[in-house]
């Protein structure tokens, strides 16, 4: 549907890729660890290695007591709803991660504080 209006109603998206000066947005969420309240967002160049996303940003989840118990080769990674296996040494672009993609990971057996999902 379109916006009912008295005049032509066309506007560019406020968060389109070109507004980030060579970077793109990536969102990250650790499933069933809701003490972090919501996914976080960072802006990185498409050439950024996935390892940097992991070491500089995803690692902030280490505050959670479940973090040291993660068995990393059992972690299920998803880009949106699609399961994928990230290549840590490849770039975001090479891992198929585009602007405003949501990277989520699940850690089987770890369901947050006292199994609450938090």
């Amino acid at each position: 549907m379109t916006v009912a209006a008295l005049a032509p109603y066309e506007f560019a998206s406020r968060d389109r890729l070109e507004n980030f000066h060579g970077k793109q947005l990536v969102y990250v969420w650790w499933e069933k660890h809701r003490m972090f309240s919501r996914p976080f967002v960072v802006a990185l160049t498409p050439a950024t290695p996935f390892r940097r996303l992991f070491e500089d940003y995803i690692s902030t989840y280490a505050w959670h007591p479940d973090w040291p118990h993660i068995v990393w080769d059992q972690v299920i990674w998803q880009n949106g709803d699609e399961v994928f296996t990230p290549d840590f040494d490849a770039s975001l672009a090479q891992n198929g991660i585009g602007h405003k993609d949501l990277i989520r990971f699940s850690t089987p057996g770890l369901d947050g504080i006292a199994g609450t999902g938090y």
């Binding site: 549907m1 379109t2 916006v3 009912a4 209006a5 008295l6 109603y9 066309e10 506007f11 560019a12 998206s13 406020r14 968060d15 389109r16 890729l17 507004n19 980030f20 000066h21 970077k23 947005l25 969102y27 969420w29 499933e31 069933k32 809701r34 003490m35 972090f36 309240s37 919501r38 996914p39 976080f40 967002v41 960072v42 802006a43 940003y57 902030t60 505050w63 007591p65 949106g80 585009g98 602007h99 405003k100 993609d101 949501l102 369901d111 947050g112 504080i113 006292a114 609450t116 999902g117 938090y118």
Partner: protein, 514 residues
């Protein structure tokens, strides 16, 4: 000139003379040129005279009663201040609910005033025009009295002085701003459904009535009088909203699907906005009057059901989101408090973990969810804080493209899972907190792709204070955010150890000893 109205006239005659008779058909220009905005939304009106204000309040009576309300209000405020009333509140933590409430509401009142000024200009009939004029003046009054209230508390407590600057910049204020921006950029009829009906009639009872009664319960006479004085206007606002719905539905059957879409949309947008109000009731009032869940049941489920059963004769259905709101009433306030608690550097008010007796109260009020999902994590936060490891999530949030809430609400089918819905529109991804927000987007994507999402603005380099070169190679987008927000450091952080906590204790000692 002093207008003398014959006192012997009855209310109906007086209303006809002082309202209906003030309107005229234009002759120099055709009516549709003078009132260009009332047709493009698709609402068909055949007889504007069918709209009558059931209060039959005329402007002369309006000024008389409003003046009386103002005299009462300011007499109480003066007495409160002369008596150091701020020290008689239950607990210094209470002040933080004022920081959040008074810091976020006045700019929204101002937007409501602008909206009703605009709608009052564009509605054709004298009935709605006069009622909109009164409501516009009311909203300015609420704005003004709330700012005066801020001024009183701002003399003693941190974090209240930059509310106007922060309104259009700060992350957690973006949802309320978006709500009113969405309404005011809609046509006049949608604005009336948004603010007059969904917000005032269906939801404002929860916003104001139990919350303000709670302020009284916590000894805050100033917030109580400001709140109830504003609320005394709301009965009129609610009536205007309901009259507008009935008027549209009675004028033409083609109006029903449009009105239904607006009711669905705005009831949901209002519900999302209320999550933080519920949090104030459950977490920020030291003495609690009723839980958010109880307020939701009393004012939304029971009262709302009566309203929608009544409107069923026009073919109106209960808002689509009704079932989801009933499920969410057990969760949203806890999720909101965790969302604020984990950002101690990013709000001009303090957060804390409730005391044990308060946690027990929450367990009792939320028997289905609190112990199962929320109490363990709050106790974990508490233990960490006491061992010097206070939770501080320094990352930037992901927000819903429509309601601008942070994406923190659970999947209605699984409280352990966060619901995130995503879609691609014109090659770009967009994310939503709920199916309802996604449907609002689908109806008007061109509107919502313009949404102001604070964290994205930071990452675009748009949130630096003056004098900072955002094009410099070493520019760090997040480094200047506190300065950009004009966030007073003393106002941030946990309540425990805050300057407010220490000052309040010292002043209360002075007030009760020699």
């Amino acid at each position: 000139m002093d207008m003398k109205v014959d006192k012997k006239l009855g209310l109906k005659e007086r209303y006809a003379l002082m309202t209906r008779d003030l309107a005229w058909e234009t002759t120099y220009q055709p009516m549709d040129k003078v009132f260009p905005q009332v047709t493009y939304e698709g609402i068909k009106i055949h007889d504007w005279n069918a709209w009558e204000d059931p209060f039959r309040l005329t402007m002369d009576a309006y000024w008389k009663y409003q003046a009386e309300k103002e005299r009462k209000l300011y007499a109480i405020l003066d007495a409160f201040n002369q008596n150091n009333g701020h020290l008689s509140v239950t607990d210094a933590r209470y002040i933080n609910v004022l920081k959040l409430f008074l810091g976020s509401t006045p700019p929204l009142e101002l937007m409501a005033a602008r909206g009703f000024t605009n709608v009052g200009r564009h509605m054709v009939g004298a009935g709605p025009r006069v009622a909109c004029l009164m409501q516009a003046v009311d909203e300015y009054r609420h704005f003004q009295t709330q700012v005066h209230s801020i001024s009183n508390y701002n003399k003693y407590y941190n974090g209240m002085n930059e509310f106007a600057h922060q309104q259009s910049r700060m992350w957690y204020l973006s949802d309320g701003k978006s709500f009113f921006d969405d309404a005011i950029t809609a046509g006049p009829f949608e604005f009336m459904v948004a603010i007059g009906f969904a917000f005032e009639y269906v939801l404002t009872n929860i916003l104001f009535v139990p919350f303000i009664s709670g302020a009284a319960y916590n000894g805050d006479m100033a917030a109580m009088t400001v709140g109830f004085s504003a609320q005394s206007d709301e009965a009129r606002h609610m009536t205007l909203g309901l009259e507008c719905i009935k008027f549209m539905l009675e004028q033409d059957p083609d109006n029903l699907p449009i009105v239904q879409r607006w009711i669905d949309k705005w009831t949901w947008r209002g519900t999302r906005k209320l999550a933080s109000v519920g949090m104030m009731m459950d977490y920020m009032l030291p003495k609690r009057i009723m839980s958010f869940k109880e307020a939701w049941e009393m004012y939304f489920e029971q009262n709302g059901a009566a309203l929608f059963n009544d409107l069923a004769r026009y073919g109106v259905k209960v808002p689509k989101c009704f079932v989801q709101t009933v499920a969410e009433k057990e969760h949203v306030t806890h999720q909101s408090w965790i969302g604020f608690y984990m950002k101690p550097d990013s709000t001009p008010f303090h957060t804390w973990i409730p005391e044990k007796d308060e946690l027990d109260w929450l367990s009792e009020k939320y028997p289905n969810t609190f112990d199962k999902y929320y109490r363990p994590v709050l106790e974990h936060f508490d233990a960490q804080e006491k061992s010097g490891n206070r939770f501080n999530n320094k990352t930037a949030p992901m927000n819903c493209q429509v309601c601008i809430s942070t994406i923190k609400f659970n999947d209605p089918d699984d409280p352990m899972k966060t619901l995130i819905r995503s879609k691609t529109y014109k090659g770009e991804k967009f994310h939503f907190c709920s199916l309802h927000c996604e449907e609002i987007f689908d109806a008007e994507p061109e509107k919502y792709i313009q949404a102001y999402i604070s964290s994205h603005q930071v990452l675009q380099g748009n949130c630096a204070p003056e004098g900072v070169d955002t094009t410099a190679p070493d520019f760090e987008p997040g480094a200047h955010i506190a300065a950009y927000w004009r966030l007073d450091k003393a106002a941030t952080g946990d309540f425990n150890g805050s300057e407010d906590q220490a000052n309040f204790a010292a002043w209360r000692r002075q007030a009760t000893s020699n």
